[in-house]
Amino acid sequence: MLKKPESAAPNLLRRLLRNRSGSVGLLLVTFYMLVGLMGALALTPYPTLEQHPRERLKPPTAQYALGTDLFGRDVASRLMEGAANSLRVALFSVAIATALGMLFGTVSGYVGGLLENIVMRVMDVFFALPALLLALVIVSVLGPGVNTTVLAIAIVYTPIFARVARAPVLSVKEMEFVTAARCLGMSDAAIVVRHILPNTLAPLIVQVSLALSWSLLTEAGLSFLGLGAQPPTPSWGVMLSESRGIAEIAPWLMVFPGLAIMLGVLGFNLLGDGLRDVLDPRLKSSKH
């Protein structure tokens, strides 16, 4: 009797946990997701907008684990909702960028010819501008806010996904199983979905994890400049920006949002490195 084939997912998880970067990254990302989820469900120690006028700029104590800000709002609660907000921006923007990038990359790579040329030249245009500059222009066109941040980051990272998705398509489409599928009378759309796409997944998954870390950084940068989430909505970038000038008397206002950004970025980055080691042995990361 044939044994049921082992599902790939638990296997991947096991190998990821055995990888040093992967396990640390997964731990940080899980922690971040949990905190973000609690923030999103308002399971915070205090309501994030609740002001305690008598307890402004309190250092971390048992009552306020990470201190309070200029308005006496609980920093820990605001960080938790900030995690939810930046995670939301990162997930949506990367999801859009992945979908669009995969569409442009696989279709242009598969069809080839003029279409491929046009799509790739358009992507070159996007590459010639620094990501933040492009994001700034987009945000200024659409007006600051969370939704425009999502859109700006998605547009900025789409070309990267298009490139990543296209490369494997170019090699896979010449393979014999694709020719065989075509001989069997499969339509182009079916070939792309059934045979080409699965082969582009490994590099894309790695890219998604790395893009999530860039997206966190870009979101924090835009909101630091006052173009992302608008106060009083808590966001790590805004909190860090607000700490300027009062950090001398209340350093915790700078330290904790800073740490939050660093750990979040680090988590997705390490997870991406780990996934690359596990999924794609040809693309070794810097660890040998």
């Binding site: 245009v125 620094p130 933040l132 222009v137 987009i138 630091f224 800073g258 040998h288």
Partner: protein, 328 residues
């Protein structure tokens, strides 16, 4: 045999022609994006004072800045100016855009060069050491530093540096007016060093990672064993044989990063109050100075493609196997 110069010039000309569609694309992209901005440019420019304008005054201002024509016509008028080296007039400064950009560019260029120097001074030696003493304590420290640099955005490091300087050293960097290097070198350097460290540190992380993995790749090659076995000292082997071959990916990443640095580092210039391209574009965007934003975007993209070209030339200088001469 054709002379080297001849071949090089033909290669450069070919590359330059290939840039034109990219630059055109950037100009169309930015032009159409900016035209989508809600609100009137004159109102955005003058703020509340715009309400005091009479209809005739408003119309003559629009005519002056060419805003009274349909967008497509505006684009072609602008483009024909660009070809002649005229990027239009900045509504905010009342000066030619190119002049405004060039007056700010030295600050950004100096910052980028200083940051690059810092990044390479830190990144390359640590990267080489990390690879040579693979899996040692130095390697661990180097990799931790690289991770830190990767996860620490410039605005965070910049904020931290300002905090430490003001609290522990009682220095407020960049309080007061910015001075150029030509006017007062020591004061200029004291204003530039901290932003340069901020940028340089973040960038040194990627230089270090790239150097390390390129060196690890090279160190396993046969020709290094040959070099060692013919009695060369380890130092010569590493410097002349290994590092030289590892330089190509380093040049690539330096090129990409330099292109971005010259595009102005909006956040760092904002934090440290440096009057460079980054702050210029940030202000131009919020003030809807159309012509200026367009001009800067084109200027930045132009820098980016030129630097890519320079990187290509450096490849050829490092690696004699790379030749841009077409086989005949």
């Amino acid at each position: 045999m054709r002379s080297f110069n001849n071949v090089m010039i033909r290669y450069l000309a070919g590359r330059a022609i290939a840039f034109i569609p990219i630059l055109l694309g950037v100009s169309i992209l930015i032009f159409s994006a900016i035209r989508l901005v809600p609100g009137n440019a004159i109102v955005a420019m003058l703020g509340t004072e715009a309400g005091m304008l009479t209809e005739t005054q408003r119309q003559s201002l629009e005519a002056y800045f060419g805003l009274d024509k349909p967008p497509i016509e505006q684009y072609f008028i602008w483009l024909s100016g660009v070809v002649r080296g005229d990027l239009g007039l900045s509504a905010r400064f009342g000066q030619p855009v190119l002049q405004v950009i060039l007056s700010r560019f030295p600050v950004t260029l100096q910052l980028a060069l200083m940051a690059m120097a810092i990044a390479l001074t830190i990144g390359i030696p640590i990267g080489v050491l990390s690879a040579v003493k693979h899996n040692s304590f130095i390697d661990l420290v180097g990799r931790l530093l690289a991770l830190l640099g990767l996860a620490m955005p410039g605005f965070l490091l910049g904020t931290l540096i300002i905090y430490v300087l003001s609290v522990y050293f009682r220095i407020l960097p960049n309080s007061g007016d910015f001075v150029t290097f030509a006017d007062n070198p020591s004061r200029n350097l004291s204003q530039m060093i901290f932003p340069a460290i901020t940028l340089g540190f973040s960038f040194s992380a990627s230089v270090m990672r790239t150097t390390r993995s390129a060196m690890l790749e090279v160190l396993g090659q046969d020709y290094l064993r040959t070099a060692r076995s013919k009695g060369l000292t380890e130092q010569v082997v590493i410097r002349r044989h290994a590092l030289r071959n590892a330089l190509i990916p380093i040049v690539t990443i330096v090129g990409v990063e330099m292109g971005y640095l010259l595009g102005g580092t909006v956040i760092i210039e904002e934090i440290f109050a440096l009057p460079g391209i980054g702050r210029l574009v940030f202000n131009a965007i919020s003030q809807r100075d159309y012509a200026l934003v367009q001009g800067i975007a084109l200027f930045v993209a132009f820098n980016f493609v030129v630097i890519n070209l320079i990187a290509d030339l450096i490849y050829a200088a490092i690696d004699p196997r790379i030749s841009y001469a077409k086989e005949t």
